[in-house]
């Protein structure tokens, strides 16, 4: 299994990378960590004629706090995101989610931008981005635009990215004071893609749990927000049970030859219940 022939360039700056994309966009692929693209190229599922390697574009690897947003550079490796104090302070679900991706060696190389651009429906970071109301900053030689994560993922392995565009950063609204969060996934074997995954955040106002955000991944073409199905309530075991049931009833599950819709619906309910329980327990 060897990749098909391609030409290769390695720009040193973002401007050079964007110029290369403008020139070769149609036939070129961006390579960052390569943990999804390289296997596809080895199997020749993907045969790009040209690779633009952005691993040396240092400005894409930064993480910083800007007002009420955490700006995570597209080139951040999962392992770095999973142990970064800024990420744990301001977007703990994102940091935790990054640490659950694949295996230890995969996380050393795989990147945030790569995971978002690849748009695997069962991937952790797209789900976290959707759950956290994050926005994706995109650049091209013509300028920049920002797209909400909820509008970024178009379908399986498909995003709204144009061929000449590059993900620059993920902008995550910082966690509110006292916010709780939960993140649950089920994999058949350690490191596999999840059969389903759920991420949620919530807060307590007085005696009521409200401001619930909850997203489900792995069951359809893209991660989906389902907090619309949940009514605010006491946050007790009964509320959690009802909320999880409502999420499972509301989710649209695409048929899959290997796993029945019924099983996945039950799985979503169980994972939602666990994620909500985790979130309530983490309220401070």
């Amino acid at each position: 299994m060897k990749p098909a022939r391609f030409t290769y360039e390695v720009p040193a700056t973002l401007a050079d990378a964007l110029a290369a994309l403008a020139r070769r966009g149609g036939e070129a692929k961006i390579i960052a960590g390569g943990q999804s693209l390289a296997p596809m190229m080895n199997m020749r599922i993907a045969q790009p004629g040209h690779l633009i390697d952005i691993n040396h574009v240092a400005e894409l690897g930064q993480i910083r706090l800007a007002d009420d947003h955490l700006v995570c550079g597209a080139l951040m490796r999962h392992a770095d995101l999973a142990r970064h104090v800024l990420a744990w302070t301001h977007a703990p679900m994102l940091a935790y989610a990054a640490g659950t991706i694949g295996h230890y060696a995969i996380r050393q190389r795989g990147t945030l931008g790569g995971s978002l651009a690849h748009a695997d429906p069962a991937a952790q970071l797209p789900l976290a981005a959707v759950a956290l109301d994050a926005r994706i900053e995109i650049a091209s030689s013509g300028g920049r635009r920002v797209v909400p994560a909820t509008e970024f993922f178009a379908s399986i392995f498909t995003t709204v990215l144009e061929p000449h565009e590059l993900i620059v950063a993920l902008h995550v609204p910082v966690a509110r004071l006292g916010e709780g969060w939960g993140f649950q996934l089920l994999t058949r074997r350690a490191g596999d893609f999840a059969l389903a995954l759920v991420g949620c955040t919530l807060a307590r106002t007085g005696r009521r749990v409200d401001a619930v955000r909850l997203a489900v991944g792995g069951v359809g073409a893209t991660p989906v927000r389902l907090d619309g199905a949940i009514e605010p309530g006491a946050g007790d075991a009964h509320w959690i049970e009802r909320a999880a049931r409502a999420v499972a009833a509301a989710v649209t599950i695409e048929a899959n030859e290997r796993i029945s819709v019924e099983y996945r619906r039950e799985l979503v309910e169980t994972l939602a219940q666990r994620a909500l329980t985790e979130a309530i327990e983490s309220l401070t």
Partner: protein, 156 residues
């Protein structure tokens, strides 16, 4: 023509951009300790260190590794003396055919540096990225745990 820095030595190679790092190490640098198993990042046999980080050398092209410090299994033992982890794998019978062992040594050494006092469950989780079809893993887990203990004793 590219230059690869492997185990502190420079290797020159004339190769296409599509040549995988694992193939360049084996064919152009004549370092065949890096084993090539699945060629799509699943089995972990080809894991090497790239600037100190364990990476699948089948998921990176040799041209991308220019300028980085690469460590392969040939660079682990010093003057014929096994590393602590290698010695523990030997003593605990943590290998049989040995195909997966180079990847395991490089992955778990990097992981131990970051996690010096691991539980068995943590070791198993970290080891999940390296397939071994002989041992059933028990002896590898025991070897990694022993290496952690021995490193700690040495430090005290």
């Amino acid at each position: 023509m590219i230059v690869l820095n492997v185990n502190g030595e420079e290797h020159r190679a004339l190769l296409e951009p599509r040549k995988l790092l694992c193939d360049a190490l084996r064919e152009d640098c004549a370092l065949t300790g890096t084993h090539v198993g699945c060629e799509h990042g699943v089995c972990g046999a080809c894991t090497v260190l790239l600037d100190g980080r364990p990476v699948r050398s089948c998921l990176i092209y040799a041209v991308q590794a220019q300028g980085a410090a690469i460590v392969t299994i040939e660079g682990v033992a010093r003057n014929g003396v096994l590393s602590t982890l290698q010695q523990c794998l030997h003593e605990a019978h943590g290998l049989q055919c040995g195909f997966c062992t180079p990847g395991i040594v490089l992955t778990m050494q990097a992981w131990l540096d970051e996690n010096p006092e691991p539980t068995d469950a943590e070791i198993r989780d970290a080891l999940s990225g390296n397939l071994c079809r002989c041992t059933g893993y028990h002896n590898i887990v025991a070897a990694v745990a022993a290496a952690a203990r021995r490193a700690k004793e040495k430090a005290e």
